[in-house]
């Protein structure tokens, strides 16, 4: 229905048009859709940033622990006391009557323990039932640990894993985990020192070292696991600033993403 008398330059022309029913609601819907789209895009962007940060953090953790292992190795070579301790532990372990220890408690998540008090530190040995096929050398003793080494020697071909408390260096406790030579269905954990922080929550907490050393951080969906990893990491980090172009560059990218993100909101 074209009207030749219509003035296309009439500014109020649109007001003269018959009003459509529901035009207000449709425009509101349109605005909502636009807002939802914007939010969705922003969410995708944040998720992608999250993924990048997680990957980057996993990479940094991996590098960190690799370097730490190397440093520990260097330090252990230099320290004759460490060698002495290991020799003592080996001798001690051979003398133990494993049957007697195991018979008293073979519970899930609970190790049997024997405590020896030394001059400066307490040494305790615990046995944990473990699947023979499990080569992770991880025991659930309630504390959180950082793995700093693993080795095999000719005189003792069974692999040993070395851990220290996640509260290190404030907490001096270290442990060594090895499969029992007498009974391979058990892992033997030798602890040196006493924790100077709240006690274990057996079954409640998880060891973290394998996530970081072997597989990096888990998928984004595993919020609980990541949460605990984060807590431990936050506790572990010491605040000191140094410069490294490679990492600061990566960090700058990550942080600038955050700043841009914040400035938009």
């Amino acid at each position: 229905s074209l009207d030749p008398n219509t003035n296309p330059f009439d500014l109020h022309f649109s007001g003269k048009l018959p009003k459509r029913e529901g035009s207000d609601s449709s425009s509101v819907d349109l605005v909502k859709d636009e807002k939802a789209n914007t939010l969705q895009e922003e969410l995708n962007r944040a998720n992608s940033e999250n993924k990048k940060l997680t990957e980057m953090l996993a990479r940094v953790c991996k590098n960190y622990y690799a370097l730490q292992n190397y440093l520990e190795e260097l330090q252990s070579r230099k320290s004759p006391e460490n060698d002495k301790f290991q020799t003592e532990q080996l001798t001690r372990k051979r003398k133990q009557d494993i049957g007697e220890l195991v018979s008293s408690s073979v519970g899930l998540g609970c190790g049997t323990s024997e405590i020896i008090s030394g001059d400066n530190s307490t040494v305790s040995t615990s046995y944990y039932p473990a699947d023979k096929s499990d080569s992770s050398l991880t025991v659930k003793d309630g504390y959180q640990w950082r793995k700093y080494g693993q080795k095999i020697t000719k005189d003792n071909p069974s692999p040993r894993a070395y851990f220290r408390c996640s509260f290190s260096p404030s907490c001096p406790v270290k442990k060594k985990v090895q499969r029992s030579a007498e009974d391979p269905s058990f892992l033997v954990a030798t602890y040196v020192g006493t924790h100077n922080h709240p006690g274990p929550h057996i079954g409640g907490s998880r060891t973290v070292e394998l996530d970081l050393v072997q597989g990096g951080l888990g998928p984004v969906e595993e919020k609980k696991e990541k949460g605990s990893v984060r807590e431990v990491l936050m506790q572990q980090m010491a605040a000191s600033l140094t410069s490294d172009p490679k990492f600061t560059a990566a960090l700058a990218v990550a942080i600038s993403g955050r700043l841009i993100d914040q400035s938009r909101t």
């Binding site: 960190y64 990491l233 572990q236 140094t242 410069s243 490294d244």
Partner: protein, 39 residues
């Protein structure tokens, strides 16, 4: 409702990103401390 859910999710992811950034900073610092020890 959809918009509200998106906003909530966005806030959650942003908070997570913030924590990740902080952790990354700390981890980098720690890494560099180790590197210095080795040098």
């Amino acid at each position: 409702t959809n918009t509200n859910a998106l906003v909530d999710e966005l806030n959650r992811v942003r908070a997570e990103n913030k924590k990740l950034s902080e952790m990354l900073t700390l981890m980098c610092d720690n890494y560099n401390v180790l590197r210095k020890q080795l040098m």
